[in-house]
Amino acid sequence: MTQRSLNYLGRRNDGQTPSELPATIPVVCAEELDKLLGRVRHHAAGFVTDLAHPPRALRVRAGEVSLEVEWAPEQGSASVSAEPAVLPVAGEDPDLHYLTSPAVGVFYRLPEPGAAPFISEGDPVVAGQQVGIIEAMKLMIPIEADQAGRILQVLKNDGEPVEYGERLFALAVLSAAGRAQPCSAKC
């Protein structure tokens, strides 16, 4: 039910430098800290699971290791049944862009039956270039690229009905730096 975005707060208050520590305190090595951090993480996650009410914030500290976590205010339940469609989803490559349908209608990749498609995967496009058609109530609405780039993928088949806002083309945007590369593997 709850959608949470975990924001780790990097606010470890560890301004202490070893030289300030009394001589009796051991220097904790990276390996040790890693292990301890693993345990802290384990306990923090387990603790949250134990709670009947989800917390808003949690801070755990064990010696040199501390972990702080905060949750965004919970928002609605929202059973989304529709394709979100319009905007690129958070976390996706910022250079990835979608051309969406401006109307409910039928999508055509070809200017007319038997002709070559307006555009194919891998092709470069310039802003304003027509890449397809939406037919709505016998009206032919041209689909144009709104930015320069390269067509990564054609997401609908020729003649397929589409809704308003549905994604038609994935476009790798030609950024200022001049790269128009496919979405990197990590996205």
């Binding site: 929202a78 989304v80 529709a82 109307a103 409910v104 209608g105 709505a136 308003y164």
Partner: protein
């Protein structure tokens, strides 16, 4: 019967229609704007098509998008609900041209009844009493002023393409006429794209009584009794009930027969409403005919037992009405309150926002029609109707007590969100309303009282 229907609406009425479809075994196609993606009817429907962005002009008023959606999904009929395209003759015609059944009367009937002067002429011919005034749109301010003089002040100037309380202004005396006339013309142009207006006598202390009719393709036209919709704020109905209280014997039947005559004269088909003004002396006058299912249709359903939306589908599918006039009897008393997401303390300004809590009343003889749910975000783009609360009881007094109890059970809460349910409780508890001796000015009077310092 149809096997698949598209619902060209949103909010509670879309859900209401979807429920009727389910009960008739009809598959439901919902259409929605980007703003209504998470709405109740979208999750309820068998299929849902996004037809446009938030502004209604590009979504719920977007004829090509809706017709395309119907064609692609194979919907055999479109139910337009109320508002939006429900009384647009062009839409009805486009549907017909594409072989889609429009759940409502034919475009010609919608056009004629939508032209308010034409409707007045037609009803006069059918023998219905109309309010004294012009039978055609006035051609000049001089003509209009002369008519006003002839029928006597106060008068009301109305948009010819208007209806539902929108596009009308009063002139209480001759000196106020010009300004009211011109302002109505400006409003009419802005609201309906048509600056034609006409002039009518304004009835003070009248009640708003309307008659529900059903007409099929086999020549049967019946009425399902009256609804009293006198509790209005700025011509918007807040509380409706059936039967109307304190009606002289036989009057409701006479009004019903008049409505049937009017419907027959118009060649009406489907469910429709004939609105009348009832003067304090017991005379009734035809006001306008509405070619849609009304917001307040549930009160008629509760006292007659007839599911009006199901009847709409039967008639649109070419089936005969299964009822005859003698089958219809009003049993008990039903009242509806419209719960709007508005702030009564700030002049009923709409308060969109997300519902942190939303609990509707329940229990004996309580019906709630709502698209609200906990977590629902009320968009700012559309009207503020959040729920209709309907109760039934054997008598009006018991129904009022039941409504009072049910309103008290409502829980609507969310950041910035207000609701009118507490204000409606004041109305329900108001002695004048309880006596049934009220008219269309009751809300105004109540609000004035509220603002008097020291008043309860």
């Amino acid at each position: 019967m149809f096997s698949k229907v598209l619902i060209a609406n949103r909010g509670e009425i879309a859900l209401r229609v979807a429920r009727a479809c389910r009960e008739l075994g009809i598959q439901v196609v919902a259409v929605y704007s980007t703003e209504d993606r998470d709405s109740a009817v979208v999750s309820y429907a068998d299929q849902a098509i996004q037809i446009g962005p938030a502004p209604a002009k590009r979504s719920y008023l977007n004829i090509p998008a809706i017709v395309e959606a119907a064609l692609h999904t194979g919907a055999e009929a479109i139910h337009p609900g109320y508002g939006f395209l429900s009384e647009d003759p062009d839409f009805a015609e486009v549907c017909r041209d594409h072989g889609i059944a429009f759940v409502g009367p034919p475009p010609e009937v919608i056009a004629q009844l939508g032209d308010k002067s034409a409707a007045r002429r037609l009803m006069t011919e059918a023998g219905l009493p109309i309010i004294p005034g012009s039978l055609t749109p006035t051609r000049s301010v001089e003509e209009a002023r002369q008519i006003a003089e002839d029928i006597g002040y106060p008068v009301v100037i109305k948009a010819n393409a208007g209806g539902g309380g929108r596009g009308m202004r009063m002139a209480h005396e001759a000196t106020a006429f010009l300004r009211a006339y011109q302002q109505t013309k400006t409003d009419a142009q802005a609201l309906f794209g048509d600056s034609l207006v006409y002039v009518e006598r304004y009835l003070t202390s009248a009640r708003h009584i309307e008659i529900q009719v059903l007409a099929d393709d086999f020549g049967t036209t019946i009425h399902l009794g009256e609804r009293d919709c006198s509790v209005q704020r700025r011509h918007q109905k807040l509380v409706e009930e059936s039967p109307a209280p304190r009606m002289p014997p036989g009057l409701a039947a006479r009004m019903g027969q008049a409505a049937v005559r009017g419907a027959q004269a118009a060649g009406y088909l489907g469910a429709g409403t004939f609105e009348f003004l009832l003067s304090s002396t017991g005379e009734f006058f035809f006001l306008e005919a509405n070619c849609r299912i009304q917001v307040e249709h549930p009160v008629t359903e509760m006292v007659t037992g007839v599911d009006l939306v199901q009847e709409q589908f039967r008639i649109a599918a070419g089936e005969p009405i299964t009822l005859c006039q003698d089958d219809i009897g009003l049993r008990g008393s039903a009242i509806e309150c419209r719960i709007n997401a508005e702030n009564p303390d700030r002049d009923f300004v709409p308060t969109p926002g997300t519902l942190a809590e939303f609990t509707a009343p329940g229990g004996p003889f309580v019906r709630v029609d709502t698209h609200g749910f906990p977590g629902y975000r009320i968009p700012a783009s559309y009207d503020s109707l959040l729920a209709k609360l309907i109760v039934w009881a054997p008598t009006r007094e018991q129904a009022l007590n039941r409504m009072d109890r049910a309103l008290a059970e409502f829980r609507v809460r969310g950041p910035g969100v207000h609701s009118t349910h507490s204000f409606l409780r004041e109305v329900i508890r108001n002695p004048v309303f309880r006596s049934g001796d009220h008219n269309t000015t009751i809300v105004e009077q109540l609000l004035r009282l509220d603002n008097v310092p020291g008043a309860a």
